[in-house]
Subunit: 285 residues, 4 copies
C-alpha cells in the first residue's frame, strides 16, 4: 500500500502524540534513527508526548530508559501512562488507611505508593482478614506465581466485593522478534470471565488516555484544537481507533504490530481507517 | 438493602450529573415529584446536567420534552447526549461535500445536518454509486425497514470500507412497564459481528460523555474537581461504572433498571459499586 | 496453495458427506459439472449424503430442488438437515396439544407440523394468553416483519420461560455473487444477547448433525468406521472443524466460502486444518 | 422451589446418566448416603453411567476412587470421561510416530499413551525442533509452571499450525467449600483468545459425551430410546442443556453448583429448563 513520508505528514500539525512500543522502540532498543525525528520536532517547536499502556513502571523510570538509550528529550513530563490513570483513580477513590491488593512486581506498586496509598501484593494477603483491603489492581504480569496467585486473586474477589482496576488493557506484548507473552490485561480477562464481574480498564483506546495527553498539550499550547494533533501508532485497535474517536488525526506506522504486507488487509477487515500510513516515524534529516 | 435519602447525599456536592430514563422520567412521563429536586438544586445553587444515550433527537427536542412536561429548568444547555458526540465527530472527520449514510429516522439525521453535513438514509443509497458516501452512522432503531435495510447496511459496508459510528451504545430500551425494544446499539452489535469489523461507539459508560459534561460544568464552576460532582443513574453498566471510572462519586437510584429487591445481588455479581444507593432522586420538600 | 484432485481423494473412502451450498450449488444453481461426481460415486458404489444447515424447507423440498436442476440421485433419504434435528427435538420434548411459537415462513413450520406438532407464527401470538405456548423455534429469516416481530419475540421470552431452539446455526448466507443476508442464526444471536439466555442450536459444526448422517451411513454399510468417511465442505468453521472433531477425514473445497487466494491464510489463522484441500468437488470423467 | 423426590423420578426410566462432581461426590468425599441410590438401581436393574468432564485421570483411576470410597459398583466400564473422547480423537488423527504436546501432569498424558501414542510435556518441547510435534492437548491445570509454560504454549502454536484439543471444557472447579480454581478449559480460553484460533473442545454439554454414554447404554439395553434415559446433574450449562439437546429427560439436583435458594432464578434467567428438580440424587431406603 502507498505510504507517506512521516515528515510530509507531521509538518502540518501543532503537536504529536506517540505510542511507544513499535513506534519509538522495539525489543532490540530504540528504532534506528528515531532520534532524528525529535531533532526535527524540537527545531520546528512542535511539542510531543508519549502515550503508553504501561503500568509496570513509573513515568520517571520510563523516561530514564529513553534518556539512557539516547533520547534525552523524552523527559518525565512528556510521558503519559495507563499506570498514571490508575494512580489518579485510587487517589480519589481510596479511603485513607485502606489498601489496594495487586498482581504485579513490587516496582509496579511502588508508583501507587508514591501518592501516599498503601498496597499489598496478592501473595501477602490473608484471605481470612480482608477488613482493610478495599480495591484490587492488575499492574504487571511478572512478580508473582501464576499457579497460586491467579487462583488466590479469584477467591479474594469472590470473598469480598471490591472495585477492580486493570492498569494496562493490552492482552499480550512482544518479547523478541518472534515471541509474545501474556500481558496483565490478558490475565485480567481470564479472571473477569471466571468471576462474571466487570473491571475498570485504563489505557488506549480509551478516551481517558487521550484526555490526559490533551490536557498536557493544552498547557504547552493553550488554544490547541484536537484536530491539530497527530496520533502516531502501530496498532489499529488501540492507537488508531482511540485517536480517531477522540477527534485526532492518526498516522499508522508499519514498524511494529502492523506490517507492510498486511496493513491493507487489516485496515479493510477491521474498518479502522488511519488518516495516513507511513513506513515509520523516522525522519531523514 | 439500606438506602440513603437523596437530599442527604446530594447536599455534599457542587454539581450533579443525571441520567434521564429511570431517573428523571419513565415510560409514563416524569418520575412523580422529581420537580422538587430541581427546586432544591436551584435554591442551593447546585448546577445540574442531564447525560443521555440518545441520538434520535436533538438537545432542543430533548429539552422541549422536559419543559412541556413541567420541568422548565432543563434547558438545552443542560443536556448532553451521545448524539452530540456523534455530530462533533463528523464535524472534524468528514470531508466537505461527502455524505454520512445512516440507519434511523429523518429527524435523527436532521441534527447532524444542522452542522452543515450531508446525510443519506440507507434506503436512498445506491450500492453501485458510493463515491460520495464516506461514513456510516447508527442513529435510531426506527425510520427504516429492518428486513431490507439491515442487510443493505451490511452489504454497503462490505462494498466500501468506511468509518462507522454508533451514536447510542444502549442495546435495548423500555417501551412500557413490561416490554422492551431493541435499540440501535443492539442492531449495531448484530452488524458488527457479521462483518467482523470494529465500530466507534459514543455514549455512557465511555469517558467522552462524562468529559463533555465536565467541560460544561467547568464553565459554570471554573475550579470544580471531579470528586465534587455526583453522577446519579439507574444502570450499573453505564451510569455507575462510567462515573466511577471518570473519578466522580456515584448514586444508584432504584427507580428504573435496578430494583430494590435485586440491587444488592446485582452490585455483588457485577462488582460495580456505587458510592451511594438511594430509592430515587426525588427530594421531599 | 497446492490442491489435490477430488477424484484422487474420494476414491479412498467408503462414504462421502457433502455440504450443500458452496460445494454442490451456489447462488446461480448447480456447480457446473458437479453431476459428474455423482456418476462416479454411483459407479464406484460409494454412498453419499448431503448435510445442510437449513431449516427453511423439508428434506422433500430440498431434494426436489436437486432433482429439478439435474441431480436425480439426490433423493430425500440422502438429505440430512438441521431442521430434521429440530423436528426430532420437538417430537420428544413437546407435551401433546401445546404449541411451538416460531420466527419463519409458514413453509418452514409446515415440516414440524408433519410430525403432528402444533405451531404458531410469532405474528399470531397473543402475549396475554401464553398458556399453550411451550417452546420457541428460530426457523427462517423470512416470513415475518423484523421491525415488530423480533421485539415481540424478545417480550414473549421475557414473559414466559420456555426452551428455545435455533434450527440453523448459520449467521448469514450469500444471496448473490457479492451480497449476503443475515440468517436466522444471526437473528437468534441478537435475541439471545439481549435476553442473556442460552438457546439450543442445531446444525454443523455440532456433533448431532454428523451423528444423524453417520447413523444413515450405518444403514447402508453396517460396519463403516468414522475414519472411512470423507466430509467435503467449503467452510472451515462448520464443515471442517465439525468433521475433524467427529473423527472424519475432511476435504476443504475452494468453490464457495473459502477462496484459493486466502485458503492458506484462513487455515493458518484459524488453526482448523482439513485433511485435504481440493479446488472443487467436481470430478472430470 | 418445589422439588421432587429422586426415587419418584428415577423409577420411570430404563437407564440413568450421572454427572460426578456435585451429584455423587464433592470436595469432602462421597455425597452422604449416595450409596443407597446404587443399591436401589441395582435392585431395580436400572443401568447407570457416570459422565464426567475430566481429562486428568484415566477411567481406571476415576473408578478406583469410587471403589476406595465405598461405591464398588462404579467400575471402569461405568465411566465416560472427556479424556476418553480426546484419546479416541488422537487415535484416528495422529500419524504414527508423531507426538502430542500437552499442558498437564504426566499422569494425565499417561492415558493417551496407553493407546500407543507419543506425548511430550510442554516443558520438554524444543521450539526450534517441532518436526515431530503434530497436535496439542490441554489436559490438566496442574503439572507445569503457568508463568513460563502458558507463554511457551502460545509461542509453540504461533510457530507451527496444528490441531489443538481441549480435553475438559470446564472453566473452573471447586477446591473446597468456599474456593475455586481455574480449570484447564479456562486456560485454553485464554490461549485461544490471544491466538485468535479455534480449538476443538471435548466434554459436556457437547453431544459427543452423551453419544459415548448412549452407545454404552445400547450395549446393555439394545432397544433403549433416548427419552427413556434420565440425565442427572448439578449444572444447568453443561449437564442439563446438553441432556435436553440430546433428547434425554433431565433432573437438576441441588447438591452442588446450583443451590436451593437460587435454582429458580438461574433457570429463569438462563432459559435452561430441567424436566425435574430434586434436592439431591440420594434415595432413602
Amino acid at each position: 500500500m502507498r505510504t507517506r513520508s512521516f515528515r510530509s505528514v507531521v509538518k502540518n500539525y501543532r503537536a504529536v502524540f506517540f505510542d511507544a512500543f513499535g513506534v519509538l522502540k522495539n525489543h532490540k532498543g530504540l528504532i534506528p534513527d528515531i532520534a532524528n525525528t525529535f531533532v526535527y520536532l524540537e527545531k520546528k517547536q512542535i511539542p510531543y508526548y508519549v502515550l503508553t499502556n504501561d503500568s509496570s513502571r513509573s513515568p520517571e523510570e520510563l523516561s530514564g530508559w529513553y534518556i539512557k538509550h539516547g533520547l534525552p528529550s523524552i523527559t518525565t513530563d512528556k510521558i503519559l501512562s495507563s499506570g498514571m490513570l490508575a494512580m489518579e483513580f485510587f487517589k480519589t477513590k481510596l479511603i485513607n488507611g485502606n489498601a489496594v491488593a495487586y498482581l504485579g512486581t513490587k516496582d509496579s506498586a511502588h508508583y501507587i505508593e508514591t501518592a501516599g496509598l498503601k498496597t499489598v501484593p496478592i501473595g501477602e494477603i490473608d484471605l481470612d482478614n480482608l477488613e482493610h483491603v478495599e480495591s484490587f489492581a492488575f499492574l504487571d504480569d511478572e512478580g508473582f506465581d501464576w499457579n497460586t496467585d491467579i487462583n488466590k486473586t479469584i477467591n479474594l474477589l469472590r470473598k469480598k466485593n471490591m472495585t477492580v482496576i486493570v492498569a494496562n488493557t493490552d492482552k499480550n506484548y512482544p518479547v523478541n522478534k518472534n515471541d509474545i507473552a501474556v500481558a496483565v490485561g490478558g490475565l485480567a480477562d481470564l479472571v473477569e470471565k471466571i468471576l462474571g464481574k466487570k473491571f475498570i480498564r485504563f489505557g488506549k483506546p480509551d478516551a481517558q488516555m487521550f484526555l490526559l495527553a490533551y490536557e498536557r498539550a493544552l498547557k504547552d499550547i493553550p488554544d490547541i484544537q484536537r484536530k491539530e494533533i497527530l496520533m502516531v501508532g502501530d496498532t489499529l485497535f488501540t492507537d488508531i481507533i482511540g485517536g480517531n474517536k477522540f477527534g485526532l488525526d492518526t498516522a499508522l506506522v508499519l514498524s511494529g504490530n502492523t506490517l507492510a504486507d498486511n496493513a491493507k488487509i487489516k485496515i479493510g477487515s477491521s474498518g479502522i481507517i488511519p488518516t495516513y500510513v507511513c513506513d515509520s516515524a523516522v525522519i531523514d534529516l
